[in-house]
């Protein structure tokens, strides 16, 4: 299993960000073909006290081929375009391969 991880740093206007994120972006992302599971979590603190992070989202796919195909699909492109419209300066993305523990 692989995942696309999107890490968001705290936006200037969290209420506005959250509205665009949950009302529009997440529904678009959930349409990506081959998506096995999606987990969104809100950052609530850190061992050191405050965290610069605001949100973390993880989209799971069976393998990198499925993830790449999803990102290149019309649904993936629509989700990415929407994201860049309101969160380009807050988001960092990477791909990760889940390991057995």
């Amino acid at each position: 299993m692989v995942k696309l991880v999107a890490l968001y740093r705290k936006p200037e206007n969290a209420a506005d960000f959250d509205r665009q994120y949950f009302d529009t972006h997440v529904p678009l992302a959930l349409k990506m073909p081959g998506l096995v599971k999606c987990e969104v979590a809100r950052v609530v603190g850190a061992p050191a006290g405050e965290s610069p992070a605001h949100m973390i989202a993880e989209l799971y796919f069976n393998d990198m081929a499925a993830l790449t195909a999803a990102m290149g699909s019309p649904e993936g492109k629509a989700a990415a375009k929407n994201l860049m419209g309101f969160a380009a300066k807050y988001v960092t993305m990477f791909f990760a391969e889940v390991r057995p523990t």
Copy 2:
């Protein structure tokens, strides 16, 4: 559900880091009381090409009280002490609350 997220940036010596991480640190972390689930994933790339990240680990607990108790437990302190011994300069940690999607 809440999770402790540990994000590691690429170490100077990945083979040495991985050995200490998988052979010693993960087994210690898995002993934390109240741990519901642990997911470790290796970063394999990014939409932009390279990612500065190396690994992401997520430890799930039922609520923040359980997470806090686990970090304050002897097992939690042992895991943290071990981590600081080889990964202090690579790790960033935060707490996040999983949202329904």
